[in-house]
């Protein structure tokens, strides 16, 4: 009997640990202006994200996002003329919480004048071992319709599938780590209907001509990432990320990142980061093919070439005093700036003057990305 009592007592003491359930994230509104400027392209626009809990177990969210594009990139200048376009994206999502399980479903619709995409996603998260471990399994399916301006006859489809596994683990009272794995399968028209490859042409005045690029109709990829955040002896954190990637087009990539986050006083939070990315080229990529139709598949997209990219990021968050915006529980103003430097190993700058064909200097450019956003918790 005494043993039973001890057992019941132990059970009662441990009960708070056992029944400590997950909770949904708080209600929140974010309004952002985003801007990308680099390589002759500027893309900017607004994004608004709102999230609202309904009771203790259901949350809904919606996102409105616009990309306003003005492009005179090297591809555009080499084979076409500057253009502007706009992409509008709407997303809705819902979450259902039951004890330690969260089920999420989402739908995104993206429209531009020559491309439309619809994507549905679902995932399920479960926490284990006293909420030290959280496992999330997810998948998404998207259908895209590819068009071409000036060619009403042209319409192609793409089907996109993604499968995700995320494992988050609390390792110590100051260290949390995550493992992410994702497989993607794309089928359909995967090249860009406007982009062209160049090939040596002795009959052309400049020594080369262009023809349309042609990609395989399937692309499978796997990516795995490890991340960790460590709470430093004072109130600040250091984050490290590493990701490996490979796909059926022969591209292998990796990136790593270090991020330092440092609050200052009650009102400020600063962030500093460095990210390094590198990739090999696709099997069917070439900057200059030896002749027309040189291969079954042809690509000269610089994103399929071999290159490195380095990014430095700085950010600041200001916590607005409550009395200034008393209708909200908490408000922040945030400004984040990232500078990307892209250095291509086998994509040449065809705009370089007086260069021998195939010996033009390698292309490089830098881009500035701004995120200015206001967040309100209510």
């Amino acid at each position: 009997m005494a043993a039973t009592k001890r057992l019941l007592l132990a059970f009662a003491l441990l009960l708070p640990l056992i029944v400590q359930a997950e909770v949904l994230a708080p209600d929140r509104l974010d309004v952002m202006y985003h801007s990308y400027d680099g390589g002759g392209a500027t893309i900017d626009g607004p994004s608004v994200l709102i999230r609202k809990n309904i009771g203790n177990s259901v949350a809904v969210s919606a996102n409105y996002y616009v990309d306003m594009v003005s492009s005179a990139s090297i591809d555009v200048l080499a084979t076409a003329s500057e253009y502007t376009e706009e992409r509008t994206e709407y997303s809705i999502g819902a979450e259902y919480l039951n004890d330690r399980t969260i089920i999420r479903a989402g739908y995104t619709s993206s429209e531009e004048n020559d491309y439309s995409a619809q994507t549905g996603s679902i995932n399920i998260s479960q926490s284990f071992f006293g909420d030290l471990t959280t496992l999330t399994l997810g998948m998404s399916y998207g259908e895209d319709t590819v068009g071409q301006n000036g060619n009403t006859e042209f319409e192609e489809d793409v089907a996109r599938r993604r499968y995700q596994l995320n494992l988050t683990q609390i390792l110590t009272k100051s260290l949390i780590a995550a493992f992410n794995f994702e497989s993607a399968v794309d089928e359909g028209f995967l090249n860009n209907p406007y982009r062209q490859v160049r090939y040596l042409d002795p009959n052309a005045a400049q020594g080369y001509s262009y023809q349309k690029e042609l990609y395989p109709e399937t692309r499978n990829s796997d990516a795995a990432a490890l991340r960790a955040i460590y709470y430093l002896p004072y109130r600040a954190s250091l984050r490290a990320d590493y990701r490996l990637y490979e796909d059926s087009w022969g591209i292998e990539a990796s990136n790593w990142e270090l991020r330092y986050t440092h609050p200052w006083g009650e009102r400020w939070l600063f962030e500093l980061k460095y990210r390094s990315y590198e990739q090999t080229q696709a099997d069917f990529y070439s900057d200059l093919f030896p002749y027309r139709d040189a291969q079954n598949f042809l690509a000269r997209d610089k994103e399929l070439s071999e290159y490195t990219s380095d990014t430095i990021g700085l950010g600041v968050t200001y916590y607005v005093p409550e009395q200034w915006l008393w209708v909200f529980d908490k408000s922040t103003v945030n400004l984040y700036w990232d500078n990307f430097q892209f250095d291509y190993e086998n994509f040449r700058n065809v705009l370089a003057e007086d260069a021998v064909v195939g010996e033009e200097p390698m292309y490089n450019f830098d881009a500035n990305v701004i995120r200015l956003y206001f967040s309100f918790w209510y």
């Binding site: 132990a10 990309d67 994507t119 945030n334």
Partner: protein, 73 residues
Amino acid sequence: MKYLSRGMLLLAMPLLLSACSPWVKPYERAHLADEVMSFDRDPIANGYLHHVYEAREAARGADGASGGGCGCN
């Protein structure tokens, strides 16, 4: 009574295991709950940066963000 105790212990084992195994107790998680320890502190800003990465890099996926790509070309 002995069998009852053992039976209860057996029934409680999975619960006890899940409760005993947290080597970081809930009351020791103050640092972990701090927003500087979040992988996704501001989803709107995080999601946008992943959109930039996917548009400018061949690699995609395993970025910790939910959803299924940007649907852009």
